[in-house]
């Protein structure tokens, strides 16, 4: 197991203080992770030593930049057990999921005039259905709602149990012969629940649907192999796994990616352009229109190197222990209710809770005044909040650089908030 204090020392921002000298206790990694010096140094070195336009230009820097970019693609793909040619870079996971949804709406639109040029698996019509869960982040919900509005298809969702897990009792009727796409979250950003995505993907494939997984909260926190997940498409972001902002990933099977219509079009994604029409490059370039996210990819690959050195199994074990410690600590506080699984089984370390008589914004404010950074609000999972009858929650989401003392600081902050507002 890695040394948490040594890890912490790798992150310059964690040595800073806030609000006039309070040491920073950062427990908002579910929103975005902090970045180790190594990642920052690699991004800087790229700009100082290799920066140039990739995939064009016949000069030394262009070659160095292209080499760095494609090596990064290889490294990031290997991190999830994939081949480089199946990994598409986007600007964030939201774009990755939109890219997937637009493959359907674009194919549906094109099929009206030129059905032979699109893959019929992506052509939707009224009567078709698509399936999500009741614990999706808005980024894996709204694009599918929009796809329904454009095509007349119907959105269905897998409901939740009181404990905050998927209620799979009706799975075979929710995902049925009408279902064309199933898109589910691997690990919930608000509840912390880790979902049995393999089982759901297998059901999707049994009815001939395309399977999509939102892996934003799983890939940074546990070992993930795309082939074990069993999806056709898998989306995640770079900035939640020690990488920079401005980069997202979409992995897909060679078959599905090569059957998809382009999302953004323009330079770099074409095969041949003439005034009366164009043909498109093979994936991944087909989905990377314009100047790609080169420095971000190089830095994300450095983040992957850093995580691999720690070992993802150890990362998961570390977070599992912290989740257990936090769940136990929260259970000892009067008036505190965890929203999400109470048992530390098939759950990650993101833990949402509400404090009786206190609004999450006010809890977060008191924690912030003590240097403790948490997320408050609906966590872009508003329907999930409604499902549990709360307008919003406070969320702790620790990572590799947090230890039990950070959880203690949060627990003490909750007591301080209760005392400040006189609810206890």
């Amino acid at each position: 197991m890695f040394d948490v204090q040594a890890v912490k020392a790798d992150f310059p921002i964690l040595a800073t203080t806030v609000h006039g000298g309070q040491p920073l206790v950062y427990l908002d990694s579910g929103a975005t992770s902090q970045k180790p010096r190594f990642v920052l140094d690699v991004e800087r070195a790229y700009y100082e030593q290799a920066n140039a336009a990739v995939h064009r230009g016949a000069h030394a820097l262009a070659e160095a930049a292209t080499e760095a970019f494609e090596q990064a693609r290889k490294g990031i793909a290997q991190f999830v057990g994939a081949q480089a040619q199946d990994l598409v870079f986007t600007k964030n996971a939201t774009e990755s999921l939109n890219l997937a949804a637009y493959a359907f709406s674009n194919a549906t639109a094109i099929a009206q005039w030129d059905p032979a040029s699109v893959d019929s698996r992506f052509v939707l019509k009224p009567g078709d259905s698509m399936v999500v869960t009741e614990m999706e982040h808005h980024s894996n919900l709204v694009p599918w709602q929009e796809l329904c509005r454009k095509t007349g298809a119907t959105l269905r969702w897998i409901p939740l149990t009181e404990e905050g897990r998927l209620d799979l009792s009706g799975l075979d009727s929710i995902i049925d012969e009408s279902t064309r796409v199933v898109s589910v979250v691997h690990q919930s950003n608000i509840l912390g629940t880790v979902n049995p995505v393999r089982l759901i993907m297998d059901r999707a494939h049994a009815v001939g649907a395309i399977g999509v997984v939102d892996a934003c909260q799983s890939i940074p926190h546990m070992p993930v192999d795309v082939h074990e997940v069993g999806a056709d498409l898998l989306a995640w972001s770079g900035h939640k796994m020690l990488g920079p902002t401005g980069i997202g990933c979409l992995w897909g099977t060679t078959d599905v990616l090569s059957s998809m219509s382009p999302f953004l079009s323009g330079g770099s994604m074409i095969e041949m352009v003439q005034m009366d029409g164009s043909t498109f490059a093979a994936p991944p370039q087909r989905f990377e229109a314009g100047t790609p996210v080169v420095a971000q990819a190089v830095a994300l690959n450095a983040a992957v190197t850093y995580l691999q050195a720690l070992g993802m199994a150890d990362v998961a074990a570390h977070e599992h222990a912290l989740a257990g410690y936090a769940l136990e600590g929260l259970s000892r506080l009067d008036g505190v209710r965890v929203i999400g699984p109470l048992s530390n089984v098939d759950r990650g370390s993101a833990i949402s809770f509400v404090v009786e008589g206190l609004h999450p914004h006010d809890v977060g404010q008191v924690l912030d005044s003590r240097g403790v950074a948490v997320r408050v609000g609906h966590h872009c999972a508003w329907p999930t909040c409604r499902r549990f009858g709360v307008p919003s929650t406070t969320r702790l989401s620790p990572y590799i650089y947090n230890d039990e003392s950070d959880i203690d600081a949060a627990l003490e902050g909750i007591l301080a908030a209760q005392s400040y507002f006189g609810v206890k």
Partner: protein
């Protein structure tokens, strides 16, 4: 950070003991506003009393700042004219954007001067403004204020 500069006694008092909370039986105009970043919601309604003054009703859920702000506003402006409510709203918006540097006019703002400290917490300014903007919308819907007149 000085929590007490945000959570003034007056604000906490209005939060714990909201004044005039509840919806009107026959509103002339009603507006439902939400803060999409945190999910807070408020409905503000307006009507006229026998003397032509404003009647205000509200209901909602949210943090101490948003709920206290609705209570303060209702207590301050009930029975007043639309022009007075417009003047107070302009003063309140100015206060919220002053980053704690402005000297609020207590005659115009009453208890709402206690929100001066909120302006130093950018993330909470929206909470404080929620009810005030809903009131403006309700006045427009009631035909008491034209769209161009809004703050």
């Amino acid at each position: 950070m000085e929590l007490d500069s945000l959570y003034q006694e007056i604000i906490l008092d209005h939060y714990k003991h909201p004044r005039g909370k509840g919806l009107l039986e026959q509103p002339l105009g009603s507006a439902h506003h939400i803060n999409p970043t945190c999910g807070d919601e408020i409905t503000v309604q307006v009507s006229r009393d026998a003397n032509g003054g404003l009647q205000i009703g509200y209901d909602g859920q949210g943090c101490s700042i948003s709920q206290a702000s609705a209570s303060v506003l209702t207590e301050l402006l009930t029975g007043h004219t639309v022009a007075e409510s417009q003047k107070a709203r302009e003063a309140f918006i100015e206060l919220m954007h002053a980053q704690g540097l402005s000297e609020p006019d207590e005659e115009v703002l009453g208890d709402a001067v206690a929100f001066a400290g909120v302006a130093k917490f950018p993330a909470r300014v929206k909470c404080a403004l929620l009810a005030w903007m809903a009131l403006q919308d309700a006045e427009i819907k009631a035909g008491l204020l034209s769209k161009g007149e809004g703050s």
